[in-house]
Amino acid sequence: MLFVLEDMINGILMGAIYGLTALGLTIIFGVLKVINFAHGSLLMVGMYFAYWAVALSGLHPYLTLIVVVPIMFFFGYYLQDIVIKPIFKAEREVREPITVIIVTTGVWYVLDNLTLLIFGPQYRTIQDNPLRGEMLELGQMLISVPKLWGFFAAILTALAVYWFLQKTRMGRAIRATSLDRDAASLMGIKQYKVYNIAFGLGTATAGIAGVTLVPFYNVFPTVGVLFDIKGFIIVVLGGLGSIGGAILGGMIIGIIESVGPQFMAATWTEGIVYGLFLLVLFVKPSGLFGVRYDW
């Protein structure tokens, strides 16, 4: 039984990190009403920034947050401003423009393959990493330390985003735009600026996720794809637009992935995740923790 408990704990920790990778997706969907297919690639970009920051300066991996988060925020801000905004302007009356999905898929392909072109297909890991393979012994259970930190980072980030949206003036503007963008515009909120900031915020959380992943995960050009599909599943499970739902949805996936292999071939767990996802989509598309309103 102890094995199952150990797997459960590790699954919850990894799952919270999955939730963190999906947090940006849910923020962006909540405001812009589009699924950002490039989100995994943004995570990948964040991981590369973190990797190079560590490799070039020799900083502690978590200290790179100071550099990576602002860079990622502005990266997302201008990505939305330059690439995605024109589509919104052209399809103003559509609530969930499908064209934006297609454009973000284009961004995904460009980012992934540009990275491949520049940095090559090698798998990279941080050399002399202070956190590598570090384990916490809890009775007879072993718990990965970098995953534990990732878990805390996920919870803290989710709380911070929640606080920002609830308590600050900008957060209120974002929520207003998310509820009704026309009414919000009439109230004097600059709709596209809010979109830029929401996109930047989502990208910045992908940057945080990237930093927490780098100490124990390989960095390579298509690493985002793994998290991309998982991210879609997580946000739908948790309810699109729900911040707490993203973290909980991530934990469900994490538990399935870590406990599942005790009972079946590990490759089957992926199939179970897809099956569960389709089931939720068919039966309760608003997600397991159904959010009636977007926030």
């Binding site: 699924i35 999905i101 284009g106 460009v110 599909i229 879609f232 389709l278 989509l281």
Partner: protein, 335 residues
């Protein structure tokens, strides 16, 4: 000379050129590139029946391609059934699966539909990768299936040279274009168009939008599976990552979207413009600049969506008609 006459002449010339091409072009490499080009044009045109006319974004069509490839290959390897028959059976199975998947998914809104089809396609790949025996059928899991090139001939859809493949896929492409043409001119096509643009309005006029979409899905998946069987016979080796990959699903959708969804010429034009880019950049820059063709794909896709959301076919058809009008200056109809 009237415009209609010119149009007929140019179409005729085009047909002569594409049918005569293998007589001039002897290189198997180039023929293979052309075969793949037609295959993609075929796939995107089939995709367009759902993705274009029905106004949704299916991103899991590789699953149906895989069903076609696996059905014909398994039947041929285990029971010696001709791939031609296997092709049709695969098409029917794909249609049934398509209907089962379409029934719940067509109720979903834009993004949810795209996500559901992705999950379906990926789930299918995971399943095939994990199953060695599906009942009596040997799928051989992630190792894939290899067809020994022994009984070469038309009945086994297996040839030693590329020319027969070229003509088969060309005829298949013309066939699928004809299907698209008739669908777009039929009641079904108009219903689909109406349902894709304004589902509520169409339903209030008595159009059974859901049923129309299902019919389109059945046709589209059937046709996609035929191409899967053809591909299996062309390469004689299939495995889950090659025939049921997410990349294939995305590439089909990309090409159709860049060319212009919802039009007949769009997907073909997309394949015509993008396949050579991908093949030649892989041949010449594959070692030095990996992934270049996908960067080009992505960039073109973004630019087309921003500046020409109806696809590249729109300016190109306009230019084509412009040239025809120039050549046939005054075509005053005499009553």
């Amino acid at each position: 000379m009237t415009k209609e006459k010119l149009q007929k002449i140019s179409t005729g010339l085009l047909l002569v050129v594409i049918f005569g091409l293998p007589l001039v072009l002897r290189s198997p490499t180039y023929l293979h590139i052309l075969i793949l080009l037609y295959l993609y044009a075929y796939l995107t045109t089939s995709w367009n029946l759902v993705g274009g006319f029905a106004g949704v974004l299916p991103l899991g069509h590789a699953a149906f391609f895989g069903i076609g490839a696996y059905t014909s290959t398994v039947l041929y390897l285990q029971y010696g059934i001709s791939p031609w028959l296997g092709m049709v059976l695969g098409g029917i199975i794909a249609s049934i699966v398509g209907l089962i998947i379409g029934l719940p998914t067509f109720k979903m809104r834009g993004a949810y539909f795209a996500l559901a089809t992705i999950a379906f396609g990926e789930g299918m790949r995971v399943m095939v990768e994990n199953i060695d025996y599906l009942g009596p059928f040997n799928l051989n899991g992630p190792r894939g299936l290899q067809i020994p090139p022994l009984n070469v001939g038309l009945t086994n859809l297996m040839f030693t040279n590329k020319e027969p493949y070229y003509y088969i896929i060309l005829i298949m492409l013309i066939g699928v274009l004809a299907v698209t043409y008739f669908v777009s001119r039929s009641k079904l096509g108009f219903y689909l168009n109406a349902g894709g643009e304004e589902p509520e309005a169409a339903m209030s006029l008595g159009v059974n939008v859901a049923r129309c979409k299902l019919v389109a899905m059945a046709i589209s998946t059937f046709l996609t599976a035929l191409a899967g069987a053809f591909y299996a016979q062309l390469t004689l080796f299939i495995h889950p990552k090659s025939v049921i990959s997410l990349d294939l699903s995305f590439e089909i959708a990309f090409i159709a979207l860049i060319g212009g969804r919802g039009s007949i010429a769009g997907p073909v034009l997309g394949a015509l413009l993008l396949r050579p880019v991908s093949d030649f950049s892989r041949i010449y820059f594959g070692a030095t600049l990996p992934g270049l063709h996908l960067i080009i794909f992505g960039t073109v896709l973004i630019l087309v969506m921003i500046y020409q959301p109806r696809g590249l076919q729109e300016p190109l058809t306009r230019a084509y008609h412009g040239i025809l009008n120039r050549l046939a200056p005054v075509s005053v109809k005499e009553e």
